[in-house]
Homo-oligomer: 452 residues x 2
């Protein structure tokens, strides 16, 4: 039995079905919404018009899952998990009836829910989250009927900056309200500043240190402005990009172990700690950060898919593990690419690590090759050992995926010294003769030595 | 003392100068040509018109080196190395005088020389190599004066395909004559076939299994056609992309150790084996292939720069090593990107390894995201251990540099199983939710298991 019909849940169901036929394993999955296996990460591009329609974001529909022998019940919400009785209670949202269904093995993939600022007016018409396909459709409908062209995005993380781009593409005048000083708090502030400057250049107004205090509405109850402690920002539409928290209310009520970020805690096989027959994966779990050795909440479709795959293998009688993450994330605002992996300075300090940082400016191609685009690479390395701790990259074309090199190096526990000798692809259209990541590594070696 | 004023030699000189001032270390460098520290890899793009002028390819001119305290003597050819006497004989090519100069430490960076087919007519007007800036200029002059628009490129390796693109960009009708069956023998033939098909699509005619037997000339002694054992190919200009061999005649004559590929053999600090005070780097050396454990000749600017840096550190009293390569190379023909790292099937067999191969088709971005381009990834893994042995990628935008992930994994000796859990950057504009390299790794895991 699977709770949640999106990436983790359906990847688990599909993998288990690959390993065991319907005669060996019955699979029931409950999904609150109408859709299954869709790319929530694609919603900003649908809203922005890069992706033409909702259905393009759906990897596999409920009908397709059912055709593969997975009993997926949409519009059906699980309201209680009875672990001792090995059963869950569900409500059919269409007709309102409830029932109990038994399970031998349970997969919890309840995802995450948006963090909504608890301020007056937050539920007004014209204020939108962008977590589900329903949210995306509601926002598009709202854009179609909005009187003016002023948009306010609350939050300047991945979703915030992606939605700023989307609204800009739709012809809106965009203001991003950010609690922190710089956008992209997943980067160090010095790198966030580069994003800020680029957003300015794109005509996206970013207001830092701006905590939302109230949503102001017109007589019809529709948003007309967003108030912060420092001023009011007129808005015909408001998008919330204020992050998500693990949706673990059911699991918590059932007494399952939750971590400091509110996510379920599992072992490396994605089995919930202390449980024999309960697995969990996706945005509702915490994962091990292999660099800091701590648990983190990293709601990303790519992890959800991998974890689902691992769960499905184990539930289906095979064996697989999800060893953890190194914290890789990539994004973009128009043509500005933003990437990070490993620890920020703040993370390193919190983990008790002493480190050095270096920042280098380079280009995506040989400097003389047309289209060579500037790129800033920041690297953190541990003092004494020289172990790579993290990389952040902000730049144009070709910047984001370069962070993958550092992600693999982190996974392998490489030192920056060892990285200087990495045999990375070189040809003038693809890289300077010293790849920007290697230039940073060389500089980091010197910094480690100088720090003693 | 440095012999050779290009990437390896001048990187060594520059790094040594950074560590030791002119009062501590005198640096003399001999360079046969007129230029120093230039990007030979950029020549195809200069010929093709992507790069506007020769000077753009020069990273540092002789004057700039001299201003940094390096006694660079251009147009001066070393004609003999006297190891016992710790001196070299050089000839000033302008005036013809010879002299002996003593050294305490010697750096050999004599590069490579083109492999020219030993056929009648090979020295005819209109037949060009593209190894030096002088070669590039001569080819451009030849194009400016050629009567017709038919070009023949001999060889279908990196330089051959890049020159085919360059000549196409210049409006030529291009025929590529290839000794092997498929272009890009640095790939397995099944991947080379994809390059062949793409070249066909671009209007570049590729003739396989075509060994050149003769260059035919007109009455003025200018090339008019290239003859192979299967036919004649009319040509107004001919470009040789037939590869290079280490230029080690001086070193060989001095009794220094050469490997099976004709390159100098060094230790990991880039010191010539058996020598106390002689170092060598760049296209004239063989390097350790970390995957096969064998020596290879890999003439690439990026290695030359790294090796030069290592030599300069060691000569300058610091310490550094060049541990070896994993065989990464990237290239492109128009918008087709070509990349490889690690072993081909042939290499694996020659190294005595048993392996499995898998090939997957994927895309550079999420399938629904505009611009998602197809990509074919082939992966080799060792039987039993599951160790990654090699990756080849052919595709469009974003394909080439993806091979870097595999290059780092090879360096770390990762298994394909471990690779499936790599935390690579994911966002719809940059990758499908399963990165193509991860999809290949998953399939390789299954293949290793199936092979037993």
């Amino acid at each position: 039995m699977v709770i949640g019909g999106d990436a983790a849940g359906m990847a688990a169901a599909s993998q288990a079905r690959r390993l065991k036929g319907p005669g060996e394993l019955e699979i029931t999955a409950f999904e609150r919404g109408r859709f299954s296996s869709y790319s929530a990460c694609g919603i900003p591009y649908w809203v922005g018009g890069d992706v033409s329609g909702r259905d393009e974001l759906i990897a596999r529909s409920p009908e397709e899952h059912r055709a593969r022998g997975i009993g997926l019940r949409t519009r059906t919400e699980v309201t209680e998990i009875d672990l001792a009785g090995q059963r869950v209670r569900s409500r059919d949202l269409a007709v309102g009836t409830e029932e109990w269904t038994g399970f031998d093995k349970l997969v919890i993939a309840t995802g995450a829910r948006p963090r909504r600022p608890a301020v007056p007016g937050i539920d007004a018409a014209g204020v939108h989250g962008v977590q589900t396909l329903e949210d995306g459709q509601a926002l598009l409908d709202s854009l179609a009927t909005s009187a003016g062209r002023r948009a306010v995005v609350v939050g300047a993380g991945y979703i915030g900056v992606e939605m700023a781009e989307a609204l800009l593409n739709r012809g809106y005048e965009v203001t991003v309200l950010n609690r922190g000083e710089q956008p992209m708090a997943t980067l160090d502030p010095d790198m966030g500043r580069l994003v800020h400057a680029a957003m300015d250049g794109l005509g996206i107004r970013t207001v830092g240190s701006a905590a939302v205090t109230k949503i102001l509405t017109d007589d019809a109850g529709r948003v007309r402005a967003v108030a912060t402690d420092t001023g009011e920002h007129p808005a015909d539409v408001v998008v919330l990009g204020t992050g998500v928290v693990p949706e673990t209310s059911l699991a918590g009520a059932a007494g399952l172990p939750l971590g400091t970020h509110g996510g379920l805690l599992t072992d490396l096989a994605m089995r919930v700690r202390g449980q024999e027959n309960v697995w969990a994966g996706g945005d509702c779990v915490e994962v091990l950060d292999l660099v800091s050795g701590r648990e983190r909440h990293v709601p990303l479709g790519t992890h959800a898919n991998k974890q689902g795959q691992v769960i499905g293998s184990n539930v289906g009688g095979d064996y697989a593990t999800f060893p953890g993450v190194v914290g890789t994330a990539v994004s973009k605002v128009c043509d500005l690419e933003i990437a990070r992996t490993g620890l920020r300075e703040k993370d390193a300090r919190e983990a008790g690590l002493r480190y050095v940082t270096v920042t280098v400016e380079s280009t995506s191609r040989a400097g003389y090759y047309p289209g060579a685009a500037p790129m800033t690479v920041k690297m953190l390395a541990e003092r004494r050992t020289g172990r790579l701790l993290g990389v952040q990259i902000v730049g144009r074309e070709g910047a984001a995926k370069r962070v993958d090199v550092a992600a693999v190096a982190l996974t392998a526990g490489m030192t920056v010294e060892r990285m200087t000798a990495l045999d990375l692809g070189y040809a003038p259209p693809f890289s300077p003769v010293w790849d920007p990541v290697l230039i940073a590594a060389r500089k980091a070696v010197a910094a480690v030595r100088a720090a003693g």
